[in-house]
């Protein structure tokens, strides 16, 4: 099953399958790379912020970060941690 990170239910371990780098602004792409976003990395949506559940808090690898849903839409994920690199 393929979802965008934006659609991933909270606290469901998943794996990044694809990142649409071209749909992100250059600075957003640079930041996500800095945080270790890459195909095959374990990911989990943890919390949504109050007033509209945007931004979301996400565990990526062993790190916790926050990003807005607009950016999360560029990240495709598959629930399950089988592909953990």
């Amino acid at each position: 099953m393929r979802l965008s990170l934006d659609e991933l239910p909270y606290r469901t371990p998943a794996t990044v399958t694809e990142i649409l780098w071209d749909s992100l602004s250059e600075s957003d792409a640079k930041k996500l790379r800095n945080f270790g976003f890459d195909e095959g990395v374990a990911i989990e949506a943890l919390h949504g912020a109050p007033f509209g559940r945007d931004p979301i808090a996400v565990r990526i690898g062993r790190m916790q970060i926050a990003l807005r849903r607009a950016q999360a839409r560029a990240i495709a994920v598959t629930p399950g941690s089988a592909a953990q690199a």
Binding site: F35, D38, L46, H47, P50, G61, I65, A66, A70, A85
Partner: protein
Amino acid sequence: MTTIPLIALVGNPNAGKSALFNALTGARQKVGNYPGVTVERHAGRMSLPDGRPIELVDLPGTYGLEPTSPDEQVTRDVLFGTQEGERFPDAMIVVVDATNLDNHLRFVLQLRELGRPMVVALNMVDMATRDGLTIDEAVLSRELGVPVVPTVAVRKRGLDALKDVLADLSTAAATPDTSVDRDIRHYQREARRIAAAATVEQPQGRAFTRAIDRIVLHPVAGPIILFALLFIMFQAVFAWSETPIGWIEGAQAWLAERAVATLPESFLRDLLVEGIIAGVGSVVVFLPQILILFFFILLLEASGYMVRAAFLMDRMMSGVGLSGRSFIPLLSSFACAIPGIMATRSVEDPRERLTTILIAPLMTCSARLPVYAVIIGAFIPARDVGGGVGLQGLVLLGLYVTGILGAMLVALVLRRSVAKGGKAGFTIEMPRYQLPLPRDLVIGLWQRAYVFLRRAGTIIMGVTVALWLLASFPQAPEGVKQSEYSVAGRIASGLEVVLAPIGFNHEMSLAVIPAMAAREVAVSALQTVYAIDAGDDEEAGAAALGQQLSSRWSLPTALAFLMWFVFAPQCLSTIAVVRRETNGWKWPLFMLGYLFALAYLAAGATFWIATAIGL
């Protein structure tokens, strides 16, 4: 001096770099600035086991060598030997968080390409153990090809081993290799491979942080907790400071008494008692409140909660065209707008950053506390409105809220006019929660106290003395008030024409001029004026400023004065920082203009409404 080896402390944000820096150098540190940029330079001295001294420089935390902000640019330039005002470091200590090797090793691999002597401080190994991670340092060291020393900076563990390795590091000069900038994903994959090889066991971990986040990031409980924390913070500013303020007032009264008793009646004694002791004393008395405020801000930052607050606030901030990132500099501006405006460097979007700089002065800085405290103390009864909530604290909170609402409104207008631009994004690392170290808090508070007292001893004393002289001469004839007849009085009379419609009296007009140099001076100016007017009547002159005010000002006038200080343009140092951060006079002048206009209107409206409803 220049022969002392320079070692750079490098690492990702949240790797515990500053804690390691504090642990290695203790109090022997100097905070300065890199020339031409507003990035702070933290350097300190340490000595190796064999006694050799070392200069350690703590570089701004960064994720890699492709800078996204001025801070990160400095780190990159220092490591490539091209930063003005910094020597080329002889070696590096790279700090990594043992619980986040996947990410932090990538930077180590990138730095390794520089070909400089380096040692990896595998920090927070205690946290890794608590998470159930077992890291094989030997494997890690072999894979990386550099020495690895496990440390726990906050407990000063592993420091001796680290120093031993530093002593052994070859300091042979190498030319910087500038060919590092390859696709960082290459390093990322290599980092994950090494992290997996060196980590024996890897359960999910971070249970503690996850548990707390489930509560404080809860969509309903989260904002309630945030506002409760802010509320406690502002109540504490008043409640906890009472006793130490009493001590300072006691010391001040004793000093004045001694001066009057020992010195002969003279011009110099008047200057000392009415000008310096009364003036500077009335400002220093607020040191406890300022330190309490900074204590909370340092605590929120060091514990990791500040980023959560930014997360909770992002949606609201985006409503006025900002992001949660602006929340951190804005909250720091409650302590002082200068570090707040400097902290806007972490806001990447230039238009969002400009907006944040322009509204930062609307966050009530601690220098305004003395003014608020004195007026509130004089006019608002210290009543309990129920549940242990004081009316005075409530009014204070109201003033802060007014500033915030004003800032939101201004941001909304700016983002649709002069700072128009696309929606700002919000991506930020949420570090694990940590118990802040008393040592780090003390060092932080000491630095603030030092800056405040230096201000009190220089700018504030200078302005107070100048004002005392202007307010004392020429000597008024019998029956005429000194504060009307003197040079300062005549200037104030001119200004009063403009300020009278918004309810300002003569002394207030006099106080707002020197308050431009530093907010706190408004208090000492009032104190000085009343001390001079009291003349030979020592008893009346020594009466607490609060009593003087409540007997002379009406309530609408006092409220208008408070409102003026919510919006009035900030001190000269803030304007200077805005000029430096925006590279020119355009924006500081714009800021001055809009703040004066707002202050005048808000104070006026307050006065007219308060008068109309018969307060």
